[in-house]
């Protein structure tokens, strides 16, 4: 009995191995060698130093490759590759170029391999890449603090004002929150795709965003259902919901931190201050959103503090990561997780709104709710003008 069962498993497996072996040995029937050498050299990060440029590169192509020449702004230049110019598959290397760059100028760097394949990297506006010193670390943390924690805390300050609202207006505010979140969801997803596209193609950055977003969404929902069944509770505790929102928004703010940190690192520092003001304005609304589910309860001060930190502090971490160790594929992963988390909050609040209105025999898409939703979207849309260029 058991032997038969095993054989039914083995037969397709053996056949599969046979087919694969045949294809590997004889090819797919089409030409065996590619017409042109396939070489994929990735420039992951360009550091601007006092001496010149440092490029962190990796070989994500199917074959080893050798970096033979370097051109900076259409001029052949001396360079060094550590550990060596020949990179095996998935090998990483550091290309050092001594070059008298000009502050604020764009610089194009071309790496040419032995087979004449050209990989181009760009420094949009040359400026010294911030070193990982304590003072820079502190400055970056400070930027994250003012972009993340400060505006969210300021938004939470509207809590006493919102507290006077009726049940219907509270629902309106919740609808507004859904509007805000929808904007954030789409924005986070789009940022994820943008960063993901910069990652080496072998990692399929866009798929990483989609996988991270959908898995996070489903995992959070699954986790909630499990907890609710376990505690035999009906619906969400308001604080639980606010906590959920803070987490989702926190991950989104991590992405914002990444954007700010890397824009400093990439030399687009002129944007920096404006970006900070813009994000601060933009993020105040996130505080309102987080406060909305708490309106029917009486939270303590430290609850607000906790929510502000959970939603805001990731911006600090994001700024550090963006400024010092930015890598597109990690950015894509975190932004994907953020999008999934935000989507789950949208789902929960919408469900809660619908259930609440059904309980009171009202239509869930009331004029008030619709207006709230629209205002939420529009607030985000217009405040985003400060951070989009």
């Amino acid at each position: 009995m058991k032997g038969k069962w095993l054989i039914t498993v083995l037969i397709p497996l053996v056949l599969l191995i046979g087919v694969l072996g045949w294809v590997l040995k004889n090819g797919a029937g089409v030409e065996k060698d590619p017409a042109a050498p396939i070489e994929v050299l990735n420039i992951e990060r360009i550091k601007v130093t006092k001496i010149g440029f440092e490029l962190f590169v990796s070989n994500t192509g199917p074959k080893p490759l050798t970096i033979s020449q370097v051109m900076v702004n259409d001029s052949v230049w001396n360079f060094n590759v550590a550990p060596q110019a020949k990179l095996e598959r998935f090998d990483e290397g550091k290309v050092t170029i001594s070059y008298p760059w000009v502050e604020g100028d764009p610089h194009t760097i071309k790496l040419i391999t032995e087979n004449g394949i050209i990989t181009e990297g760009e420094v949009a506006a040359a400026t010294l890449t911030p070193e990982t010193t304590w003072s820079n670390f502190l400055n970056y943390g400070l930027i994250g603090f003012y972009v993340g924690i400060v505006p969210i805390t300021l938004g939470l300050l509207w809590y006493p004002f919102m507290k006077r609202f009726s049940r219907k207006s509270i629902n309106g505010i919740l609808a507004l929150t859904v509007g805000l979140l929808l904007f954030l969801f789409v924005g986070t997803l789009a940022d994820g795709f943008e960063i993901g596209a910069e990652a080496p193609s072998v990692f399929q950055g866009n798929m990483v965003v989609i996988i991270a977003a959908s898995l996070t969404f489903l995992l959070l929902i699954g986790f909630d259902q499990y907890q609710q069944r376990k505690q035999e509770k009906k619906g969400y505790s308001p604080f639980g919901l606010a906590l959920l929102m803070a987490t989702g928004i926190g991950l989104h703010n991590f992405g914002e931190g990444l954007a700010i940190g890397s824009s400093f690192a990439l030399g687009e520092a002129a944007l920096g201050t404006f970006l900070i003001i813009g994000f601060t304005l933009h993020n105040i609304t996130e505080g309102i959103g987080i406060a909305a589910p708490l309106l029917k309860t009486t939270p303590r001060f430290r609850d607000f503090l906790l929510l502000g930190v959970i939603a805001g502090a990731p911006a600090i971490v994001g700024t550090w990561v963006g400024g010092f160790i930015f890598s597109p594929i990690w950015g894509a992963l975190f932004l994907g997780i953020g999008a999934g988390a935000i989507l789950q909050v949208i789902y929960v609040i919408t469900k809660m709104l619908i259930e609440d209105h059904r309980k009171h025999n009202e239509e869930s898409v009331s004029w008030l709710n619709l207006s709230g939703f629209a205002i939420g979207l529009l607030i985000m849309y217009f405040t985003a003008f400060f951070v989009k260029f």
């Binding site: 033979s68 001396n78 000009v102 502050e103 004449g116 506006a125 400055n139 930027i143 400060v150 309860t297």
Partner: protein
């Protein structure tokens, strides 16, 4: 969360204080950060320390295969197999084979070239005015090719007919007029066939020999690696920075004669500039053409001429394309006068 615990006025005050602190902080943020927000002209002293003005951007003394090719082409002339015809005329027979070959065009960079006799540029054919020339052309490449010679000859010897892979053809004509000619493949698509490397210099010496000199052959060209219609490298004799890293040795006051031609594709013009000296330029290598006494000349695609120069002082003299971009992409060299 306890229902009794209310948000007290004190808590609101605390929150307000946090907010005020935040606003104040935002205001002072700019002053506290050391990250510059305004682009400034670079005044970093490290730029001055690093000596970038010594033209050492591509210094490498290794004797690579590519350099050996360029050096060989500088002084090697192919006079063919010489015999006398019954009427007393000199007959020169040349073997020319079209071969697909990878050429090292800059240190470590391989270019999938189409070549005459395995080099880019091809061999420098040389003869005297009035000789009967016979070029036995064999196409061992993967594409149809031909040889189109500049000069005066019957149109059926002009190289417009494609010679297919495996086929052979003999071009036969009398050498005239004297001067510096060029030759190249004339099969369509023209730009691709020429750019791949099928070209070279073709010298017809005048019957009355020129004054003895150190004779150098230089073909200006370019390489487009990614086929975007723009060259990545510019060279003389096919190898980037060949004579910058290995200067051409010359004796003081010695007459130097350079056979210079421009076979660069994708760029309209190329040029030759000599530092710290002047030279006489004979367009198309004709003594009867109006010549120029200058330090910079320009050549259109297919244009060529002879440069004659003597160096009155010992030392290092730079020469390069006066298009700076070409110079920095490989077309730069030195004469070392001893």
């Amino acid at each position: 969360m306890s229902e009794e615990k209310k948000v007290s006025r004190r808590d609101i005050l605390k929150m307000g204080t946090a907010g005020a602190f935040g606003i104040a902080g935002s205001y002072y943020l700019n002053k506290m950060t050391q990250i510059p927000t305004v682009a400034q002209a670079s005044n970093d002293s490290s730029h001055k320390k690093g000596n970038h003005s010594n033209h050492a951007n591509m210094s490498d003394k290794t004797i690579t295969t590519g350099y050996k090719m360029a050096e060989r082409l500088l002084t090697e002339f192919d006079y063919g197999k010489v015999t006398k015809l019954p009427n007393g005329q000199t007959l020169r027979e040349y073997e020319v084979v079209a071969i697909d070959k990878e050429i090292e065009i800059a240190k470590g960079i391989k270019f999938p070239g189409w070549t005459y006799n395995g080099t880019i540029p091809g061999p420098t054919f040389r003869c005297t005015e009035g000789d009967l020339l016979r070029f036995n052309f064999i196409n061992e490449g993967s594409h149809p090719h031909s040889i189109h010679f500049h000069g005066i000859h019957p149109p059926e010897m002009d190289g417009l007919t494609s010679i297919y892979p495996g086929q052979r053809f003999t071009y036969e004509f009398e050498a005239k007029p004297y001067g510096l000619q060029i030759y190249h493949c004339h099969v369509l698509p023209l730009a691709r066939h020429i750019h791949k490397g099928l070209y070279g210099n073709f010298i017809i010496d005048p019957k009355k020999p020129r004054e003895p000199a150190l004779e150098l052959n230089m073909v200006m060209n370019g390489y487009d690696l990614d086929l975007d219609g723009e060259n990545e490298f510019y060279t003389v004799n096919g190898y980037a920075f060949a004579f910058m890293n290995h200067p051409i040795k010359i004796k003081k006051d010695q007459l130097v004669r350079i056979y210079l031609s421009n076979l660069t594709e994708f760029d309209l013009l190329n040029s030759f500039h000599l530092h710290a000296n002047y030279f006489t330029y004979y367009p198309t290598g004709r003594n009867d053409n109006p010549s120029q006494f200058t330090d910079t000349i320009m050549q259109c695609q297919g244009e060529r001429g002879i440069i004659e120069v003597r160096f009155p002082y010992k030392g290092i003299y730079m020469f390069h394309a006066h298009v700076s971009e070409f110079a920095e992409l490989g077309w730069m060299g030195f004469f070392e006068v001893e």
